[in-house]
Every structure is written in structure tokens, then in C-alpha cells.
């Protein structure tokens, strides 16, 4: 029965420790990279962070269809 399965899944997640959203929520407000916090801003163009490196650009070329 659907509702029983949903309850089982919820209980499973709660038993795994996901009932206290606060644990991870505490980091949610700090999760944006400092260089790209504003919506629409370019993210991580400086020395820190992921960027479109030469490797990524090569990867793009090898996967074009």
C-alpha cells in the first residue's frame, strides 16, 4: 500500500538521522562561494573554485554531437 511504503521510507530516513534538518541547514546559508554569491554573478572566476579550465573546454569538444 502506497501510504505504508511512504511511512516506511520516512521512518528509514528519520532513522538515518535526517530528521534534524538543522544539522545540515546550518551550513546552507554559507554554501555559496564568496565570489559568486549574487544571483546571476559569474561564479568562481578567481584562483579558487571550479572554472571552465582548458581541460573542461577540451572535454566539451570531445563530447560534441
Amino acid at each position: 500500500m502506497k501510504s505504508t511504503k511512504s511511512t516506511t521510507r520516512r521512518n528509514f530516513l528519520l532513522a538515518a538521522g535526517l530528521g534534524g534538518a538543522g544539522a545540515v541547514a546550518a551550513v546552507a546559508t554559507a554554501r555559496k562561494p564568496a565570489t559568486g554569491a549574487a544571483k546571476g554573478a559569474k561564479v568562481a572566476q578567481g584562483p579558487q573554485g571550479y572554472r571552465a579550465s582548458e581541460h573542461v573546454l577540451k572535454y566539451y569538444k570531445t563530447t560534441e554531437v
Partner: protein
């Protein structure tokens, strides 16, 4: 104009249950740590975070506790160097952060093409300023976050939609990716990230099988 016609459509969103909110936060955190190294503020926030409620000795709770402990002694410069050494080297990276690498992707029907197509079917598209391909694990986890908690102008996806995206694009490659990340020689802080990611993806896979 009658009163009914003048009424704007109203959309009500129920608050997410705590366990669903926690899933969204885990996806957000993993996406953030894979896209860029943690800065000082994020390290501080993780270090100050409490343990998982009722997690006992479970794998996720243990991995979370170890990441919290590691964050308290890690500095942002070292994290940036480690992230660069793992993911952003010139030529072949030490660890590929692209799902297609782990699924034997071919240029035809490449995972990023299918990810884009599946996201479009869900009414989503990568941000215009996104710099990473769609099968970058940071992008995949960010997509899962939006599906779980809503955002980008839409509410949460159904559990079936979440499961389909997870089974199609995350599960086939995530286990091998996190194993590679944990085993990589430069991994130190990211060994803890890999353990957390592996535990969380395993938990997700099992939970989807229960519903």
C-alpha cells in the same frame, strides 16, 4: 470584469518535512563542495554544525561527524589547493568529476545530452552562467536539490520524478566517483567529502527502493 476573472492564480507550497529538507541540504552541500573548495565561512559553518539526530552509528551520521571534525582543522587555502590538485589540473585530472567518465560515455547519447533533455522535460535548464557541463556531479546534485525542495520557479518534483533522475544520472556513476575521490592521493579533506557523498547516495538509493 467579474470577481473570479480578477483573481490571480494562487499557488500554495507546503513546507517540506524535515527529512526532505535535510535531503535537499545534503545535495546542496555536496554540489557546493564539488563545484568549488570550501571558503572560510563554509568551513566554519560545517565545523559548528551539530550531529545528525538519531543517526546512531549509521554510515551517514559517522561520515557527517568526520566531515564536521575535519572542517574544524582545515583552512580555506589548503582546501583550495586540494580541490585544484584533485579536479582542476591541466590535462587529465586526478579525479574526473563528470558522470560520463564513469559510465563509458560516447559522444553520441552522451550523459550531458540526456541530462539536458530530462531537465527540460522537468521544466528546468542549466543557469545561463553555469560553467560546468551538465554531467558534472556538482550540477547533477544541484539539479537533485531543486527537484527535492523546488526552486527556479517550480515546486518540488514528485518522488517518482526524483527517483527517475537519480537512477538515470546519479546512481550509475556516483559510487565509482566517490570511491575514486576517496582513494586519490591528494585527497585529505575531500576523503571525508567522498565518504559523506558515498553514504548519502547509498542512503538515497535504498530510500527510493522503499517507496
Amino acid at each position: 470584469m467579474n470577481a473570479q476573472a480578477a483573481m490571480a492564480p494562487v499557488t500554495l507550497h507546503r513546507a517540506l518535512p524535515p527529512e526532505e529538507a535535510a535531503r535537499a541540504h545534503f545535495y546542496a552541500l555536496l554540489a557546493r563542495l564539488l563545484k568549488a573548495p570550501p571558503d572560510g565561512a563554509l568551513l566554519h559553518a560545517i565545523a559548528a554544525a551539530p550531529g545528525l539526530d538519531g543517526g546512531g552509528s549509521g554510515g551517514l551520521a559517522r561520515a557527517w561527524g568526520e566531515l564536521v571534525a575535519a572542517s574544524s582543522v582545515m583552512d580555506a587555502d589548503a582546501a583550495a589547493e586540494e580541490h585544484e590538485a584533485l579536479f582542476a589540473t591541466m590535462g587529465k585530472p586526478v579525479v574526473s568529476v563528470f558522470a560520463g567518465f564513469y559510465t563509458g560515455a560516447t559522444p553520441v547519447a552522451h550523459p550531458r545530452v540526456r541530462v539536458r533533455s530530462d531537465l527540460a522535460a522537468l521544466g528546468l535548464a542549466p543557469r545561463a552562467d553555469a560553467t560546468e557541463p551538465e554531467d558534472h556531479f556538482g550540477a547533477l546534485f544541484e539539479a537533485m536539490r531543486v527537484l527535492v525542495e523546488g526552486g527556479a520557479g517550480r515546486g518540488p518534483a514528485t518522488l517518482d520524478e526524483q527517483r527517475r533522475f537519480f537512477e538515470s544520472h546519479v546512481r550509475p556513476a556516483a559510487g565509482r566517483f566517490f570511491a575514486a575521490l576517496g582513494d586519490a592521493q591528494p585527497s585529505n579533506y575531500y576523503r571525508k567529502v567522498a565518504a559523506l557523498g558515498a553514504a548519502f547516495v547509498a542512503l538515497e538509493a535504498e530510500s527510493f527502493s522503499l517507496d
